[in-house]
């Protein structure tokens, strides 16, 4: 969730858009958003101009603390995937005739 919000840079997201982009149900997305907002990782606001005949929607984006945390997460994930890639590259090939012994 943090990474998904982080990818939207400074832009605001709607709850339903997050459900669709993450392919998660609203029953999963909203509890996470509530927790993140309560922990100060996500900022919320209401739309200033709602579509005609519809109520203003709630908007979400990472707070500075959330953005910092997401950047750390991304770095950790990149480091882990880089390490895994180098492990695969460095792994010795099985010597012919020894496989299955």
């Amino acid at each position: 969730m943090l990474l998904a919000l982080g990818e939207r840079a400074a832009g605001w997201s709607h709850g339903y858009d997050l459900c669709r982009s993450l392919d998660l149900k609203s029953g999963t997305v909203y509890p996470i958003l509530i927790r993140l907002a309560e922990r100060g990782m996500v900022e919320t606001t209401w739309e200033q101009q709602a579509a005609q005949g519809r109520p203003a929607r709630h908007l979400y984006r990472l707070s500075p603390a959330g953005a910092e945390f997401a950047a750390g997460l991304r770095a950790t994930r990149n480091a882990a995937s880089g390490k895994a890639r180098s492990t695969v590259v460095a792994a010795p090939r099985p010597v012919a005739g020894t496989a299955g012994t």
Binding site: S26, G27, T28, T44
Partner: protein
Amino acid sequence: MSHRRRDGADRLLATATAGLPASRSEWGEAMLAELASIDDPIARKRFARGAARAAFVRGYGIRVGFGMLAAVLVAAIALAASRLQLADGGPGVLPVTVPVPALVLLLAALVSAGRTRSFRIGMQTGLVALVAGFAALFAVLAVEGMVWMDLHGVFLLDGDPPRGVADPADIVFDVFTTGMWVGYVISWLPAVVIGAALGTWVGDRRNLADIRRNAARRRDG
């Protein structure tokens, strides 16, 4: 589509979000507003179902969950009180089954109100616990009363013998008398009110401390 009629998805989500505590009512409004932006009926149903489940768990779940947990504890306390005295056949479980469950109800209301910072939800949790606790307590006492009468020929509540011969109905009605109900309500209800009030106070204090801590963190950062 400016005047779409309320459909099942609207009604389901409105009902589920109505139970959210005041501190999270904005989230209920957010879910309803989001639902209003979705036009596809199938997507609306899917969104409403998921959001309603989340809102229900956060709104009603805490009341029912803590209430039922308290009822189970009340039943366990009554059973333990009965079994610990069963060998002696006295002095009866009343000195335990009145004050100790009151403490359990107080805790249920306190924790619930503290977590939600809502006196109303603390009271509702306490009342669910009170009603479920009554039912659980009387079920245990009715069964245990039979065992006591069978083994020692005395009533479970006070350890006194009956006047004359007691049949099973007498034993059960001894537990269900009007005096018993009134006595329990008088003892347990104030515990619920005190627990809800105390929980709201504690929750507000914790929230204030969190706000100050976050503000200090932002200032330092």
